[in-house]
Symmetry: D2
Subunit: 318 residues, 4 copies
């Protein structure tokens, strides 16, 4: 029987010490500690880890952390959305995303060419730079072949980022370098979609083959392999990883972090519990759901897990 | 200046009368009344209405309502997700979705082949029937041509539903019959994706062209046309409609209904206010956000709007 | 087995017809229908009904509805907060509460003497009128006796509202007239608390006896009596009703309507399920929780229940 | 202009270093960093700090942290609820609160005499011990005098805890020892209320004077004094502190941490922004709202603030 213990401050605590104490508080605190322990278990067990996230987490400063995790061999599969791809590339150019306010004057922002995502701002210029850059890349790739699955395309784009920008913190770059496939089943849902369309207008035989990528995500693993899922936020990225896991025998471990609740029946709010009814998560799997802002909860649980893994010599940096 | 008025019950009120009174309460009540008024305004103005919804709303009984709205010429453009397509078709076969509990025993459900979505259940058999049905359809379509944009494909699938099932309440059927395009940028994110992959294995030149469909959604409207958006829930369906609207000069009217909140910076929780900073919604547009369960709020606002439109002879049934 | 049915609009539906259809949708819709059915069951069974609400619901237009329900003999016990008392009285004077916006300029509002509650406004003048009125009332009551339990005091205040204001829509007036006690365990938490303190400064032997009122709420019922709870929102009002029910053998029926979620362990988000572990709600009781805005959900469920009760001749108006 | 920076893990980070990085992420992360900075500012400015919390936070392991903060001279005023008082005393006896699951079998728990609060459990025995202990204390106090304001009573109860239990982690004990008044405007809303009623039955002239305590909380500060508020969760405790601050010229600094949202117009979800319209918070005050689980966010922001204050020699332990 686990019991609550009085949390006490100690001067200059480490994140490790802090999380240890958090594990005795209750409500979401203990779930967060369980989340951190589960990540350690995923990695220790040798499971193939799928990491999914939504584009707003790339808008935020978590983007560099995701890249670092790939470098540290934590996730072996990434599933995300078009916006995440675009913004990772913008940041690779050095584009700056402002931290503003949830209560900005949006009409004024629009006049200044500033686009708001919660309390963050992306400027029109960042989109323009992305568009200018992506076109020659598409042309180059088209000359190699005319039909691309999404994950293949994203790998090539990642490799394009390498020498010129030298950006260590790019998700696409680190994924390409470390052979971690990035799946993006909704690849056209962004300005990238617009660029692909413009390119196809000139080159009608240019094909983005999303069906081929379904095969790729299925064959990224198999029934016998132990699989683990870290799903940050909801959306198509969470669902797509779950679906591919389901078709491969289900996940042995699953961690969901989200602000959504079960009560509306949405995918974002669906719990690890519900996923068991589908076989998306094995009945006997370790599963944790932490409700709250991912921008706080994920770094906290993950940094602690990395410290533990490092101490146990389970962290093999690339 | 609008003021709160004491809500009073009157025997056997109509939905109309009820909503009129709701408009004087405050908090989300008044927003719901504003939502209903805005729908009337959208239709009266002759705007092209985009309706987006997530798959869980098709799991629920709203599916027949969406089909009816298409029949009533309310939306001219639909954007949704793969799950919505699949479940609409299952229901067209007469498959039953059980209303159960949010607190079911999920391991037991899994053993019975029952998959939970909030307090609803989809049986494995429903998926099997879908799979058995879709394959000959794909074969038939492939013999017409080998490269399909998503909305083209969905139209043909809708037409397939017509004579055999005769289901008036199918979204795909009504959309096909009434020339309302259905866009689904994440078409492979469901069992449909698996079926498409299996089909492509046998017919490698079979192509689902998502890039082509980006063109289609752009050309479904133009800058000069007045556009309106009804976004139910969040996800890729909401974002994709907003994106295509942005590229076409923005929406003049926008209604969001969601359970998500702005505080995490997610697309699901993003308000009509935030969308103005992007130009997704015109600065001077009428925009309403209603926070709460769409399964209650949407039928309430929409039924009232339909009554008003009917009374004003603005409802032209197909 | 209950299954989802396609919701369809029919011209000029009644609230009854609408709710019947809502009961086949799933997610919170079916819970709302269950809520309405449960209210009918509460009343049909002859249970003593406790109604609790927070002050923001009185700020909104639900105030007149609560008064009407008392008149219709629905609740036999009321538990609420100080703000609810004050605002009911202000409205009895004819004070107007503006419906504004969630995004007001609060500094500007402050300069104008306008106080915001979500999208509603209470003017300083309304508070001043309340203060001017309450003082002579306190003096009059003090001359009767110097020690008052809260519910006794509120009854006398309700009777004071009678002839002069003649306000049919006042909760305090209808409660006093119909012998429905109003409990308010946090009576000093409002401007009323300030007035009571000012009065006590002049009359040090003036006592508000909250302990005596604990006796009163315990003796408002007994173990053998069937009890039912309708808790709107959370806070001390919900908890106090539950506590008094627990001490009297628990509630046989319970309906919670709230926007809060279980995940933080708060009283506002605590479900009817959790209450069973305490014996606050009997293990075999009928219990429903509806998540969403009370300003929409409560009138919808309640109006339907009133129609049903009226049709069954179970509604005895006072 | 502040911009997002890529968050990166570094081995064995301190909480300080971690929070510094969190401040560059966006969404609630940056708000949490702002919250921590604001606490430092409150203390550095010499403001009188009001700390409010709900009872579930005492159920959790935050109870010892609150006691430690009192010892460290952080809050000078406490406002809380009856449950918090009771559970602090139970823990002072060494009663253990189990960490269980949000998905417990509540009927089974009830049979075992276990009461659930989210994922925590309080056993019936803990309540019984509380009841056995409080009665002789009430008798002893009654013999001193028959009329007690709440904060006076709580101070005496705190002093009773001192020698026998010697519990350093008790809120009541530390508050009594350090002359920090504890206000509890809803003192009867708990088993304590039941005990007070039983005692009054035998001693009818025993009075808990809540009106007197309104005076006490008003005179705990004055218009000229700089005041700061840390409100954890919502409820009567948050509102009462705000009310007393309003009557004293408003707070210069305010920090809200809550899981509730603005959209329902509730006190729990009301933001620091809204409070400005009332004058509860000064127009030019520093105000931060962090949305999320207090059991994670408060220790994180507060521990960092304590480290900073310690380093600046601004922490004067008692």
């Amino acid at each position: 029987m686990k019991i609550t213990k009085d949390f006490l401050w100690k001067q200059d605590m480490s994140v490790n010490d802090f999380l240890e104490r958090l594990g005795n508080i209750g409500f979401q605190s203990v779930e967060l500690k369980n989340a951190s322990d589960l990540i350690v278990k995923m990695k220790s067990s040798g499971a193939k880890i799928y990491l999914t996230f939504t584009s707003n987490m790339v808008t935020s400063g978590l983007r560099g952390f995701f890249a670092q995790l790939i470098k540290l061999n934590i996730p072996q599969v990434i599933v995300t959305t078009a916006g995440a791809i675009e913004e990772d590339i913008m940041k690779a150019f050095g584009e700056k995303f402002e931290i503003a306010s949830f209560h900005s004057d949006d009409v004024e922002l629009h006049e200044r060419g500033e686009n708001r995502v919660g309390n963050l701002i992306i400027r029109n210029e960042s989109y323009m730079k992305f568009e200018d850059w992506i076109n020659p890349v598409l042309k180059k790739l088209y000359h190699k072949k005319n039909r691309w699955s999404v994950s293949e395309l994203l790998k090539e784009i990642g490799l394009e980022l390498t020498p010129k920008e030298g950006n260590e913190n790019s998700i696409l770059y680190q994924a390409a370098k470390n052979n971690v496939p990035i799946f993006c089943p909704g690849i056209t849902d962004g300005t990238l979609g617009f660029q692909l369309f413009m390119f196809q207008e000139k080159h009608p035989d240019f094909i983005i083959d999303v069906v081929q990528d379904f095969k790729n995500i299925i064959f990224v693993s198999n029934h016998d392999e132990k699989k683990a899922l870290i799903a940050l936020g909801g959306s198509i990225s969470k669902h797509h990883a779950l679906l591919s896991g389901l078709l491969n025998g289900g996940f042995s471990y699953a961690l969901y972090m989200t602000t959504a609740h079960v009560t509306s029946g949405s995918m974002s709010g669906a719990t690890t519990q519900e996923a068991k009814s589908w076989g998306k998560i094995k009945d006997d799997s370790d599963a944790v759901t932490v409700i709250g802002d991912v921008s706080i909860n994920f770094p906290l649980a993950m940094c602690n897990a990395l410290d533990v893994l490092k101490n146990r010599n389970l962290l093999n940096e690339s």
